[in-house]
């Protein structure tokens, strides 16, 4: 068994695609129309296009318990997904200049440095640099 795809639930797929490609500089790899307005939408890191894929999945907005759970995580500032970077400070400055909002500024945590930003689609995302 291999780890190939992880899902990030997003409130609006088109808005998420813009954020993940235009702000985070990820690359759209697969875009398959599914039922109604849903798509099988995969993005990958530009630096590692054969690496793990991210499925920008429509959040189950119609399912109340999931909606409450996601909002509670978001409001508490808890990131459920994290991406690796070689330099958190540089990435933080680059994203701040693009208007991305951070709830945790670059912070050293022992042997790593972290920061947390809002992906504008209902998720806190943590970026991590190994020191």
């Amino acid at each position: 068994m291999k780890i190939r795809v992880i899902s990030i639930p997003v409130q609006d797929q088109e808005k998420a695609l813009q954020f993940y490609t235009e702000k985070l500089d990820f690359v759209k790899k697969v875009d398959v129309p599914l039922s109604e307005s849903n798509r099988w939408l995969i993005v990958v890191s530009r630096e590692e296009q054969e690496g793990v894929e991210i499925l920008l999945e429509p959040a189950p907005n119609h399912f109340e318990p999931a909606k409450i759970y996601r909002k509670a995580l978001f409001d508490a500032g808890i990131p459920w997904t994290q991406f690796h970077t070689d330099n958190v400070q540089l990435e933080y400055e680059r994203l701040i200049n693009l208007g991305v909002e951070f709830s945790v500024k670059p912070t050293e945590m022992g042997t790593v440095k972290i920061a947390v930003f809002d992906d504008t689609c209902g998720n806190n995302i943590q970026i991590v640099e190994m020191l």
Binding site: E50, D75, A76, G77, I78, P79, S103, V104, T107, E108, M109, G110, T111, I114, V116, N124, M130, L131
Partner: protein
């Protein structure tokens, strides 16, 4: 302050209060990153950081969650992939990343990557083409 920020501050105070230990393991990791192609023994690494080898082993595992040996092997395998994709031969790759025998390198590579170095190189050439 969000609950997450409160929690990471709490964890930082509990787990990462000893700056000296953290500097030792970070320094060791950087040394491995810059010298992974050399013969790096535990005795040598502990001498570089002026600490006992068993203490260094414990600290590295405590802060990075893997042993020094695991980390060194991961680093070498990661670098070997870069060299193989560039077209370096399996034998040259083996010696450039600090392994002594192509057969032990191939066995280890296969156990970590799921392909032999030759298969990995062919596959990456296919993707490039």
């Amino acid at each position: 302050m969000t609950p997450y920020l409160i929690e990471i501050t709490r964890i930082k105070d509990i787990c990462y209060a000893n700056k000296g230990q953290i500097n030792t393991v970070i320094g060791t990791r950087h040394y491995i990153d810059n010298h992974f192609d050399k013969d790096l023994s535990l005795d040598f690494l502990s001498n570089v950081r002026f600490t006992s080898k068993f203490h260094l082993l414990r600290l590295f595992k405590k802060y990075y969650g893997q042993t020094l040996r695991q980390y060194l092997i991961d680093k070498r395998i990661e670098q070997s992939k870069i060299l193989l994709v560039r077209g370096t031969s399996v034998t040259d790759t083996c010696f450039e990343i600090g392994f002594e025998s192509p057969s032990s390198f191939s066995t280890l590579f296969k156990s970590r990557v799921g392909l032999t170095p030759t298969e990995f190189q062919k596959k990456s050439n296919f993707h490039k083409a």
